[in-house]
């Protein structure tokens, strides 16, 4: 199966500033995590998203685009900040990988992929 790991984190939450040694260490953890997914045969795709103030939301209703507004879909403290698309035999494996992700503080939603046209 394929699962999407969807990160919801607070952009103003704790985290080291770029250029500091702590930041190097922080990035190192993410690189190691990516490597683990690749070597484990789990990697399909992944991305870290630009902050929510760069987001634009398009609304559709009744099969038509009805509006375009500045900002992310849901205004909450946590925002959709990145995702992984992974292969895993079952939910337990996907959950174990999600629990290992080096997110400092936040939520990781795990959702099965129903259909992917390029797969």
């Amino acid at each position: 199966m394929e699962y999407m790991l969807i990160n919801h984190t607070d952009p103003n939450g704790p985290g080291p500033a770029p250029g500091t040694p702590e930041f190097e260490e922080f990035m190192g953890r993410w690189m190691a995590y990516n490597q683990k997914l690749i070597e484990g045969g789990h990697w399909v795709a992944g991305a870290s998203l630009a902050p929510p103030d760069t987001a634009t939301t398009v609304e559709r209703a009744n099969m038509e685009a009805v509006g375009t507004v500045d900002g992310p879909y849901a205004e909450t403290k946590e925002v959709f900040s990145g995702f992984y698309l992974i292969k895993a035999d079952n939910l337990d494996i996907a959950l174990a990988l999600a629990k290992d992700m080096p997110v400092d503080t936040g939520f990781i939603e795990v959702r099965p992929v129903a259909f992917r046209p390029d797969a």
Binding site: Y3, A88, D89, N90, L91, D92, A94, A96, P112, A114
Partner: protein, 423 residues
Amino acid sequence: MTKVEQAVTRLARNDASRVLALLADRFGSIDVADDAVQEALIAASATWPERGIPLNPAGWLMTTARRKAIDRLRADRAERDRQEKAGALAILSDAPLVGGANDLIDDGDISLEGSGTSQLRLMLLCCHPALDPKSRVALTLRLVGGLTTPEIASAFLLNEPTLAQRIVRAKRKIRDAGIPMSMPTSIEERLAILLQVLYLIFNEGYLSSTGESGLTRPDLHSEAIRLTELLSQLTDGTPEVDGLLALQLFTMARSQTREDIHGDLILLTDQDRTAWDRAMILRANNVLNGALADMSPGPYQVQALIASHHANAASDDATDWPMIADLYLQLEQMTGSDIVRLNRAVAVAKADGAHAGLSVAESITTLDQHHRYHAVRAELLRLAHRWDESLEAIDRALERQPPPAEERFLNRQRQQVQTERAD
């Protein structure tokens, strides 16, 4: 109930989950396995009255359900082939058809040997943290307990569509999210949820025993005990599992004396101890001693130990209240629960007097909305001869809408306090 109906119910309760677990392992789908078992049970009800009850009903169920599962998978496959031939898109939301062609070859293996580990994994699946808590209870009773949806609905006083919906949704999530029926890496975490579910089913037994509608409801006390016994066997007597089992048996042994013929509560102090089920208490003692010998304490063992002090005491006065107060303190430290502290207040009052009990009760700040908190305070205040405050606490308890039996009890308490004050 006719003989056949009894036999089918027994089959559903005792053997269906073994068969279901084995088929789910074999065909990789809870849905397919559950439907097959249900269809086989329906077939039993339909054909046994004429053909007679087979000598080995469990074997019959395995053979019949297995054949129904294979029929269903063959039909699904044929339908998929047909649609693919018709040029339809690949079926997007169809149940993943698990396994290769080998799965559909009937190798005639109908052995029920080794169903134990499958059954344990099925139990743990029903308590997966990715399922919502209410569904865990319903699913456990349905897939492991072999209760029908209407039976579960009536036991929980819920309407049938609501309950059916809950089960369907849970089964769909298992299928679509790919929740596996495999041994979890942390069995402790999962076992804790499972014990919570069994504890909840047992406690719900009180609700089902006080129903008024005259329906025959499954006895959830017995169902919970049966499932806990099964879990104890499957986990080779894990101490906390046996702790819960002992707790259930101690509670069950006293259940006949808990209410009078009007359904009014009888306090432990006033219960007829000669009517307690001695044989069951002895059994509970044995189970608990076995658990304690492992020296791996936990909250269910402590609760069972408290229950054992009550069950084995000759009278209320002969009860070792200081020990019980101490056990409640241990339990409080394990669970951090203020309900436990409230129970400790009662035990402390018995051991060291009403004032000592009151000071424990008054250190609780989170239970103001609970009628039981005020009911306990009322009783302790009465024992401390603080009549007016006791009456006030009774009023507060009544304002918080206690269940009818407790409401009647509180009204009797009020009269008693008034009489005592007048003396």
